[in-house]
């Protein structure tokens, strides 16, 4: 998708502006600082994301920057808007913002919605302030950023579900302690059957042995046979006794289960108490953990360039932002380690609470037994309630967080008395046995009771065994699936990172050839649990592998890396859109890097529509010259009282504008236009014929005046070009009023009539025409020097002059 035109009104600095007609072409936009050029970028960002990142900080309210979006001078009844027409016209849309900051899109088709959703994950805009965001971000943030862009959020969702499910099942198995429950049931089987029964065969063998004295005449071969045998030998008159025996048996069983968990509970509490006490001993540590959120917010503020200058936003001391972020990353790392320690303590507490919960439920269920209402069991009831209270006390201790006014109690003070619980178990078992023994004379009753208790415990054992097996299968399955998905995710991510790193490397090297930074690689980092924890940036620096670009590379090189990352992201992720907006991204680059960056754009990215914005005259001219003949448009942003910022045809079309002014007899600013035009062309001629001008730094270089350039060209052709000096007649130009000026008068006006200006324009064109070939549309250059005939030529050779010392 490319852009045909952009029409903006009432957004940021733009009050009214003619549409920027592009028809899919790339465009170079020049605008001095304050001309409102970035209003174009802001409008496009708002169009696609419904907010403007760098404006959010200017507003406390959460309008995502919309409050600062409307131009203050447009009337309330007028909507601010940006309308974009695309190569696919069905997606053309106009996004408006009314005076109540309500937004609306004119295109409400599903296709447009789909396009906008797809565009969300694409990299369309890069500003100077965003250049290094990815590079200086913490490794976890880099992983998140890339995973989000690749669309790995979906993988993370499934992965988290699997992990959560595996963890939940594992906790459930651990807290239930099924082995202990099974042992309690087997103890009942052993007590009544005289042997353990883990299988039907063992149960039937024991049952047959038990009923032998009754001579029932039928051997037990199935669970159904046991049921039938029980019905046969049941004696109705002993129901109450049988109930009491069952009650006592269940008390023994349940409390035996609890007793089997007591050691583990006491040991876990001891570990929890140790971790809790260590964390609580150093209150500073806890305070620091609370700072973590603040520091992470600080990280985000710096990385997202909410603070744009080099100072600490908290203490306001001057400090390099990159250094500040590196320091913050280090502190966040330390605190995350502390936080993990606290998480461990919380996890220990959670596990223990789960285990206590299971045992409390067991006791609660037991206390519902009717047998406890019998007078003879009231003391037993009190003791069982005592067990529950002990469990609950321990559980309540776990509710105290690390900041609680009193710490959790010493383990010795809240230890569960296992011996006491076992004594209750023994007592219940003995009572049941005694009750059975009370009917010694009644063999049938004794056998009935033992068979009944055995088969009940055996069935319970089977149920617990099955539950354990099913849950274990669930745990194993979820863990295996989690591992498989992690493997697939890593494979996909590594394959992507290999391709992505190669592109970053290519772009970086193209902008920095022959420099000792090589093999830039994005590498996955794992944590102690072997989980993906982040992405680090590695590279070879003077043949040594280094991590962290900020430590070794200069600011402009870090910026270059950021630019390479953005361009690689465009290549990798932009599927819908074939345009990008680059807003003042080269500020820290020297001329050589700027040239190579421009060549990278016009070469490697010639299939993209590039909206390149700059406030730097020198870069503007450099790119203007580089893109000539490559179908780029040149525009500039101007500011006027009436319209605010607006887009108009730029310097490259100056010649046409001058001619139009002559046609319209409009002399407003005509002299200045002629001067600017001459300066631009003379700069190119100076460059082409190696005319020497005094050295100046970049920021002053772009302010060279026409008179200085005319002198340099005149001096050069006087020495080299026999004939050219006379034809060009540069002194004629130097006498013109617009060139008799100093730097302060750059924009000064002089009074001349249209006829005078026409004569001057004719002279300028004649002079420039001596250097310019109309056939190949190039200026003569030492690049095309003919060493045989000692002539300086244009590209096609049709224009040539002697060029000798």
């Amino acid at each position: 998708m490319k852009i045909r035109s952009i029409d903006i009104s009432g957004i940021r600095g733009i009050r009214r502006s003619p549409p920027l007609d592009l028809n899919g072409s790339s465009v170079l936009v020049f605008g001095e600082n304050g001309s409102g050029k970035s209003s174009l970028t802001d409008a496009i960002e708002w169009y696609y994301s419904d907010g403007i990142q760098h404006l959010v900080s200017e507003e406390i309210e959460s309008t995502k920057g919309r409050g600062a979006l409307r131009n203050l001078r447009i009337p309330d009844e007028e909507d601010a808007y940006i309308a974009i027409q695309y190569s696919n016209s069905t997606l053309d849309s106009k996004k408006s913002l009314d005076s109540s900051f309500r937004t609306s899109d004119s295109n409400r088709s599903d296709e447009f919605d789909e396009y906008m959703v797809a565009s969300e994950s694409e990299n369309l805009i890069l500003r100077y302030t965003d250049l290094v965001r990815f590079i200086i971000a913490p490794k976890t943030e880099r992983l998140k950023t890339l995973q989000r862009i690749i669309g790995f959020g979906e993988v993370a969702d499934v992965r988290d579900l699997l992990k959560k499910s595996a963890g939940r099942v594992a906790r459930s198995i651990k807290s239930a302690n099924y082995d202990n429950q099974k042992n309690a049931q087997q103890a009942v089987v052993l007590e009544n059957l005289g042997q353990n029964a883990y299988t039907n065969k063992q149960l039937f063998a024991g049952a047959n042995e038990l009923i032998r004295p009754l001579k029932l005449g039928k051997a037990i071969k199935s669970l159904q046979d046991i049921q039938e045998a029980l019905v046969t030998i049941e004696t109705k008159e002993d129901t109450a006794l049988l109930e009491e025996i069952s009650f006592q048996t269940r008390v023994g069983e349940r409390l035996d289960e609890v007793a089997g968990n007591v050691d583990a509970i006491n040991a876990s509490y001891q570990v929890y108490h140790r971790t809790y006490t260590a964390l609580r001993k150093d209150p500073g540590k806890l305070g620091k953990i609370q700072l973590l959120a603040l520091l992470k917010e600080g990280q985000s503020i710096l990385v997202n360039d909410v603070v744009q200058d080099d100072y600490c936003p908290l203490c306001r001391q001057e400090k390099s932002k990159i250094e500040l972020i590196a320091e913050l990353n280090e502190r966040v790392k330390e605190l995350e380690e502390l936080e993990r320690e606290k998480d461990r303590s919380d996890e220990q507490g959670r596990d223990l609470k789960d285990a206590l919960g299971v045992n409390i439920s067991t006791v609660d269920e037991l206390l519902k037994e009717r047998g406890f209402k019998e007078q003879q069991n009231s003391k037993l009831a009190d003791k069982v309630v005592g067990v529950r209270t002990a469990l609950q006390t321990l559980s309540d201790e776990l509710k105290k967080d690390l900041n609680h006014e009193t710490p959790v109690q010493e383990p010795s003070k809240v230890r569960i008395d296992k011996a006491g619980v076992l004594a209750l178990v023994k007592k219940a078992q003995e009572t049941a046995a005694a009750l059975i023994q009370s009917k010694t004379s009644n063999v049938q009753f004794q056998i009935y009771t033992k068979l009944f208790q055995s088969v009940t415990a055996y069935k319970q054992y089977q149920r617990i065994d099955k539950m354990q097996a099913v849950l274990t299968r669930q745990q194993v399955t979820f863990e295996a699936l989690f591992a498989d998905l992690i493997r697939r995710q890593e494979q996909a991510l590594n394959s992507f990172l290999t391709m992505f790193s190669a592109n970053i490397n290519d772009y970086y090297t193209a902008m920095n050839p022959g420099e000792r930074v090589e093999d830039i690689n994005l590498v996955t980092v794992k944590d102690k649990n072997n989980d993906l924890a982040g992405i680090s940036i590695e590279y070879r620096f003077f043949d040594e592998t280094k991590k962290g670009p900020s430590a070794y590379l200069s600011e402009s090189h870090v910026n270059c890396l950021g630019l390479s990352f953005f361009l690689a992201s465009v290549r990798a992720f932009n599927k819908e859109n074939r345009f990008i907006v680059l807003d003042d991204v080269i500020s820290s680059f020297d001329r050589a890097h700027r040239t190579r960056f421009t060549q990278l754009l016009t070469g490697e990215f010639s299939d993209y529509q590039i909206l390149l914005l700059t406030h730097e005259q020198e870069f503007f001219e450099l790119v203007s010259s580089e893109v000539k003949g490559k179908g780029w448009l040149i525009r500039r942003f101007v500011w006027s009282e009436d319209n605010g910022s607006s887009i108009e045809h730029g310097v490259a079309d100056l010649r046409e504008r001058i001619q139009n002014k002559f046609r319209d007899k409009n002399i407003d600013g005509l002299g200045n236009d002629m001067r600017i035009y001459t300066e631009r062309v003379m700069k190119e001629i100076s460059n082409n014929i190696d005319a020497q001008v005094a050295f100046r730094y970049n920021e002053h270089n772009e302010k060279r005046m026409a008179s200085e350039l005319l002198d340099a060209v005149h001096s050069r052709v006087s020495r080299k070009g026999s004939g050219l000096k006379e034809i060009a007649d540069i002194p004629r130009l130097k006498r013109m009023p617009m060139f008799i000026a100093n730097i302060a008068s750059h924009d000064s006006k002089f009074n001349a009539g249209v006829e005078d200006l026409a004569v001057m324009w004719e002279g300028i064109c004649e002079t420039i025409g001596t250097f310019y070939c109309n056939d190949c549309e190039t200026i003569i250059s030492t690049k095309y020097f003919d060493s045989v005939e000692s002539k300086i030529r244009c590209k096609c050779g049709n224009l040539a002059y002697d060029w000798r010392d």
Partner: protein, 69 residues
């Protein structure tokens, strides 16, 4: 995204295509997960309910054969 790069959705879809072949997994659990994924109902609550349902089915099926050697 370029063709060589697998999107998250592709990774997840491929995972569910190959899920039956993952070593050591229980086929009933896997079928439940495939079904939830294809119905776009793969959430924590639905997984928990599905696993509870499987557990209860297994417990309900305890019979003579469960105690066999």
């Amino acid at each position: 995204m370029t063709d060589e790069t697998k999107s998250g959705r592709v990774v997840v879809d491929e995972f569910f295509v190959g899920i039956r072949d993952v070593e050591g997994v229980d086929s009933k659990i896997v079928e439940k997960l495939i079904s939830l994924h294809s119905e776009k109902r793969l959430t924590d609550t639905n997984i928990r309910n599905a696993m509870e349902q499987l557990l209860q089915e297994e417990l309900g099926n305890i019979g003579e054969r469960d105690g066999e050697d």
